[in-house]
Amino acid sequence: MSDLAMDAPYRPAALDRAEQGLLGKPIDRYEGPLKVSGAAPYAYEQAPEGTAYMAVVTAAIGRGRVTGIDAAAAEAIPGVLTVIHGDPRMPAGEGNSRAMPAMGSDEVFHYGQGIALVVAETQEVAREAARRVTVHYDEQPGRFDATAVEVQQDHKLGFLPPVNRGDLEAALAQAEVVLDRTYTTPIHFPAALEPHATLAWWEGDQLLVRTSNQVIGGAKGTIATALGIDKSRVRVQAPYVGGGFGGKTGVGQEAIFAAIAAEAVGRPVKVALTRRQTAYMVHHRSPTTQRLRIGCDREGRISAIAHESVAYQNDDSAFLEPVPFGTLPLYAGEARRFRTDLARIDLPATGAVRAPGEAIGTFAVECAMDELAEQLGLDPIELRRRNEPTRDPTTGKRFSTRRLLDCYDEGARRFGWDKRETTPGSRREGEWLIGMGMAAALRGNFTVQAEAEVILGADGRATVKTDMTDIGTGTYTILAQTAGEMLGLPISAIDVVIGDTDLPPSAGSGGSFGAGSACAAAALACEDILTELGLRMNAATDDLRLKDGQVTAGARTTPLADLVRGSPIAAKGKTTPGKESQATSQASHGAQFAEVAVNAVTGEVRVRRMLGVFDIGRVLNEKTARNQIVGGMVWGLAYALTEDAVVDPRNGRFVNPDFGEYHVAVNADVPQIEAYFIEEIDDSANPVGAKGVGELGIAGSGAAVVNAIHNATGVRIYDMPVTLDKLLSSLPPV
């Protein structure tokens, strides 16, 4: 096994020598034909004959205890196999490798918590029986109004400890210009289109779980822990996942329930949450209150910056939204304070939703920078340029690669930023007010341990194996491109097998670390294969040239298949973070631009154009990377304008737990969007030099829209999303 810790910058020499020309190319998705023809199986599909159906009974109170469950009426329905409750292995919520929920408890932590399960011959019977289960409660008062609870400064939640550098208050007092603004962001649902679903069955004492999950290696351990069995008895598969967005990083209640149910009935059992259940049984992004203070001189040089927030969590969960994560390395300034305080509430768990931190933190910092630039009479890009740090201003570490200034410049040029009116509200077309806005995008980059195996078969085809998932992120395709590039094979000669914990353990899909980590592991495995090919070719590895299945060393050219000579070459690669990961500050960067039209009469906002330029290290596949970035930009658009989950403060229920009322972007909301890359391979990040893509697009894109609304109308809204009602009263006279 080629085992590489990132103790120093590293790039496989073979990647620089490669002649296949696959990596980075905008090739079509490997699994595309299966997806467009409906043949790609997701968790709930292609279940074995005899699979029983499960429905989950959920709590109808917001806080309290279950005092009794009467299942007689449900059990009497023909077709009902069993009703299960009170099993000590039943979790009260979602679990993951770092934190487990309460187990076997009769406590209700929030409305909609799964408390009993019904297994039946058909979906219709399971659903009806679930409604006939009567649950008795001891209902207790709950904390449902997140703005009305006490805030704790002294807590241990989350992975971002508070930062206090220098004397912030003194620096603010001395600053010539100070901006002090408070922003609020609402609850966001991850709302993957495929609801959480699991198919579970036992073969002897082995448990098989096919589930809609982003990180199956972690899920395997979590499931084993919840059930109190050894990890080696659990196998998890997720060959296709219908979107994740953070919501499928842990193990939902329904997966454990399905395993318990399958054991009880001695048959495979499957369950899919209803859309409304996903709002309660899947974590959401915490609402936040964010106070942003910036102190600077009259030229805009920042001397003090503080991003202080409050986020929420229930009593049974340990995550805390890392609100200022993207602000930490963004701008210069000696005195710095970053902290996120905690409020405890009795609502479903909050957790990581696409770009935890940046997705909402950038609303505050990037809208504040826009307002500060206006106060100083500076172009917003110029203000950012004047505060571009040369080292990480919070940690003092050197940047691995950072092309933020280039992103601003290229973005401004392509977008036509010079045509922006500096006086807000001065461009009008009929009843529409037109404005332009921009924002910086930044998403921290993580290096995570990952393994992959590559096998060069006797037929000259290569197979890549790892337990990575493809949640729409292009994993199948970029793994094939990496192996093809390293081994000189066309994409048609590569097989990719992923989404099964029997394969080498990867990092899974989350935090935008999946692509870089998995492809790095595959590239390292290929390096070992090349070494072996060199031996078989009787040539130095560095002298090998590989293309289209042929190996050339000097004047000799041989088909790869001949070199394999009936004995396949298998190799494993493993990459782990190391000293270089520790010593550098790593992030993906970008510049976001938006043009909006605001109806002067109704306050309706239409986004007319969006454009972004991004620095994501090596681009592994230009087509899938661009699509993912654009998808993130659309999320920012929807965060700016529509997404807003509302809690009923009387009972802890969501007012809008489905697509009918929780408005994700639809096709008509989205203009054509342009995204470009400035490619600088980041050798400090991982052996393929790729940084995260999936979450970067959402960072700053919403702020660019909100800043464009201000430029169009002169109105600043600090409470996201910017809906018509908030805008209308402040619009200039028609």
Partner: protein, 163 residues
């Protein structure tokens, strides 16, 4: 009950509570048609019934005696793609793929509506609408894509329409 599904005669005895979507997915195992919401809010379950696109989750199976139903599997297969399926691959009109069968069935049904001259909310000319980007986006807004591949979905549909 009798149905014609993807050109073949099929029989079933559905539960009166079963939706057409569940009949297709659970009884006939045509799992290409997806369930995203079960409430007519996402379009993942779009199929063609007697040539028109509908949300299969919003209609009961028992309402479809003798109906002619086409699902994504009936449009084309992985090694013999329908032009709309091929265009979605070429333009990367998807990511996770979960909304995709619904998008494709919806797009095929939508182009037929345009060919028949049906106007939409954004049509300037109500008698013979021109299928530009705004028309495609408007007419495809019943199909959510949480991955938000909307721009490439529009590109794919436009290419098929213009061909």
């Amino acid at each position: 009950m009798r149905f014609t599904i993807n050109g073949s005669k099929r029989e079933a005895d559905p539960d009166i509570r079963a939706s057409l979507l569940d009949l297709l997915r659970e009884e006939f195992r045509l799992t290409g048609t997806k369930k995203g919401c079960d409430h007519g809010q996402c379009g993942a379950c779009t199929v063609l019934v007697n040539g028109r696109r509908i949300n299969a989750c919003l209609t009961l199976a028992v309402m479809h005696q003798e109906d002619d139903i086409v699902t994504i599997e009936g449009l084309g297969s992985a090694d013999n793609l329908h032009p709309m399926q091929a265009a979605f691959v070429r333009h990367d009109g998807y990511q996770c793929g979960y909304c995709t069968p619904g998008q494709i069935c919806s797009a095929v049904g939508m182009l037929d509506e345009v060919a028949k001259g049906w106007p939409s909310h954004v049509s300037d000319d109500l008698s013979s609408p021109v299928l530009d980007e705004a028309e495609i986006s408007e007419r495809m807004s019943g199909n959510l894509c949480r991955c938000s591949a909307y721009p490439t979905i529009v590109d794919a549909i436009r290419e098929v329409h213009d061909a």
